[in-house]
Symmetry: C2
Subunit: 260 residues, 2 copies
């Protein structure tokens, strides 16, 4: 259907236009937008006109930006919204008790995708942002969800070439395998300085009605003198509440049952 | 470009497919989806295949649902995200002080669109939901934003046929004009039972760097015995914080200056 000579579908080309906008490029001129999509200008301009007509894009003076329409359509039905609505009150509890950034993340296409973050306390460096991504092997969220996930995902991770962010980032497959086993045994992950020297991430799993670890609740605390035990306890308590709100009945899959 | 015989653009048809999903229809069979779009089945199926290839849709067993991709693309650049990120810490403050649902809303295409809601206290009936819409004339958010907005928007509202939700919903243009003037004078709106008998909405404006009222912060409290004065004070205090976070310098447009 309406594929270009390059074989790209219209949906693909529309996504390329939407994708050209990000946190650093919230408004773009039509020319910049065409350039960022890599589409022929005439194609890009026609798609822009179509998306303006649908209120997916809107004019911002001489520039273009994403309108509210797509956000509204996506938000009212996305599985992300259900998860974050269930988690938000419990995230507030964690933030109140621990006093540091509280973050909700999932694994999406081999990376950690953060879907909510609360807390205005800027006492430690936290590079997570909503709708931002970080690598699995360097984050507490990535490690706990991989450790409690399917064995094949662990093997895939161990076969990948992993980037060393700091001197405590584990990139050696054997060492990472031992760390995953330890996280599975403990039921939570603690990652000290693996992505930013000064910060420690602590993450616990959230289970769905099938007892599958579908998301992680985490805090980012100062590596030196941060409230580590308090964080673990608060997260474990809150994550049970979120899991229950998602229909979890308190039973766990085999891999997790051994440890918790 | 690739317009159908009916003259609809591809972007329009893709939006119709995405739009078929909502809070009550988070997962759909391909046949249900085709039916809800009103598109010819073959067209709907081809668009579904394209959207599956782009991870905009994903399979949920035998059904289809919106994937995370579009949420991610939209969230990282939408103006909604910047507003809600600025507002969220202050919404938590209001929720802590008032103890009732705290809501963030904007006006979008002649309706109120709610973009965030926090608070798990279920002490009063609150029909707002995230990415949900309510009518301007029956909500505190709609009235305060219209009262402080352009005069032409007020005239447009007064010319519309307005629905009476309860016996306190104002639908008479002359009465509504007086209420708008009163809201403009006070700088906030209080709507008692205008959409749900048992609840009162209280809303204050949030200003952007240009001193324009772009959103409203509101609470929904019990109509009988709810903390009305506390709500007004907490909202006024918090809204100044949100406005400042958006770059507002404390000066107001003429319409508002008179009152605050």
């Amino acid at each position: 259907m309406a594929n270009s000579p390059s074989g790209e579908s219209m949906a693909h080309r529309i996504i390329r236009v939407i994708e050209a906008f990000d946190g650093e490029h919230r408004s773009l001129s039509a020319a910049e937008l065409a350039r960022r999509t890599g589409l022929p200008s005439s194609t890009a301009y026609r798609i822009v006109e179509e998306l303006l007509a649908e209120s997916v894009l809107e004019r911002d003076g001489q520039l273009l930006r994403l309108g509210t329409r797509l956000w509204e359509l996506v938000s009212r039905s996305s599985k992300v919204l259900g998860l974050r609505e269930a988690a938000l009150p419990f995230m507030e509890d964690v933030q109140a008790v621990v006093g540091h950034h509280t973050v909700l993340g999932i694994i999406e296409k081999n990376e950690v995708l953060y879907i909510e973050r609360i807390g205005s306390n800027e006492s430690t460096i936290n590079i997570t942002k909503v709708a931002g991504r970080l690598p699995i092997h360097a984050t507490s969220t990535g490690l706990v969800l991989t450790a409690l996930g399917p064995a094949e995902d662990q093997e895939l991770l161990l076969r990948r070439r992993l980037k060393r962010y700091t001197d405590t980032t584990t990139t050696d497959p054997d060492e990472l395998r031992r760390e995953l086993a330890e996280v599975r045994r403990m039921g939570y992950s603690v990652m000290a300085g693996t992505i930013v020297q000064e910060s420690t991430g602590v993450a616990v799993p959230i289970f769905n009605a099938d007892g599958k670890a579908i998301a992680a609740l985490s805090v980012v605390i100062p590596r030196l003198g941060g409230p580590l035990q308090t964080s673990i306890t608060a997260l474990q308590t809150a994550a049970r509440g979120v899991s229950r709100a998602l229909g979890w009945d308190g039973t766990l899959r085999d891999a997790v049952r051994r440890s918790l």
